[in-house]
């Protein structure tokens, strides 16, 4: 099996997310990645592309979000790159999940889930684009 990354271009359209998730799952399945890695990849695509579409753009035009997925040395690396305005979601404070349910706000859990489920996440702004990467080791 070639060790080339999977590169997906997704339009800023919610309808394009399921196909990207399906492509990632097929690619990971062909490489015998464990279910937890498939789950995290799908979660990352769902959360990060959704955030781009909802909050990333000030115009209604078409944009491309790039997903780069790779496996090497029992580690998954997934990067989402978008040309939306500069925003580092890792600067957001974590939600207080200990609040009584009646006081809990709805929302703000996507990045929290990804941070907890991955080993590491990093954000960079490069060439006018946001680039968010997560890593997860597996056995």
């Amino acid at each position: 099996m070639e060790n080339q990354p999977l590169i997906l271009q997704v339009k800023n359209n919610f309808d394009d997310i399921p196909a990207a998730n399906e492509a990632a799952s097929v690619w990971l399945g062909d490489r015998n990645a464990p279910p937890a890695i498939d789950y995290l990849a799908n979660l990352a695509i769902e959360e990060l592309v959704t955030n781009c579409i909802k909050y990333g753009y000030d115009d209604a035009g078409e944009h491309q979000v790039q997903i780069t997925l790779s496996l090497a040395d029992n580690q998954m690396q997934l990067t989402v790159t978008d040309d939306g305005h500069a925003f580092n979601p890792l600067d957001l404070p974590p939600p207080d999940t200990n609040l009584p349910v009646e006081e809990r706000p709805i929302g703000g859990l996507g990045i929290h889930l990804l941070r907890q489920m991955s080993d590491r996440m990093e954000y960079v702004r490069i060439d006018g684009k946001n680039q968010l990467t997560l890593w997860k080791r597996y056995t």
């Binding site: 996507g110 889930l113 489920m117």
Partner: protein
């Protein structure tokens, strides 16, 4: 996998809701209105069977949290039954573990 919602009534007026598939953006859009409708009324008793849910995104967690808030505000009780390990982990990270019932304790919730 597209999300589906089946409902049944248990003894004591308990509402059993079975979700099947992925609780992602598409899933929430497909079932949330019907799902919330089962959380209304006076002191609703709601059990949500998550044993056939394979994936939950933050929007799905939000739907489950909204249901918990609604049921609690109406003086009722809501429980999530037998989530798969990955979904259970997401609920735990999201602070919703208090609503999870696993194994034998959930097995008694069969339709009347």
């Amino acid at each position: 996998m597209n999300l589906t919602l089946e409902s049944s009534e248990l003894s004591g007026g308990i509402r059993l809701l079975k979700l099947r598939g992925n609780i992602d953006l598409m899933g929430v859009n497909a079932v949330s209105t019907r799902f919330y409708a089962f959380c209304g009324g006076e002191a609703p008793q709601v059990r949500v069977d998550l044993s056939a849910v394979e994936f939950v995104a933050s929007l799905g967690i939000g739907m489950l949290l909204q249901a918990a808030k609604t049921v609690k505000s109406r003086g009722g009780q809501l429980q999530f039954l037998n989530p798969t390990p990955a979904v259970h982990a997401a609920l735990e990270i999201s602070g919703l573990n208090q609503f999870v019932i696993q194994g034998d304790a959930a097995a008694g919730t069969s339709p009347a």
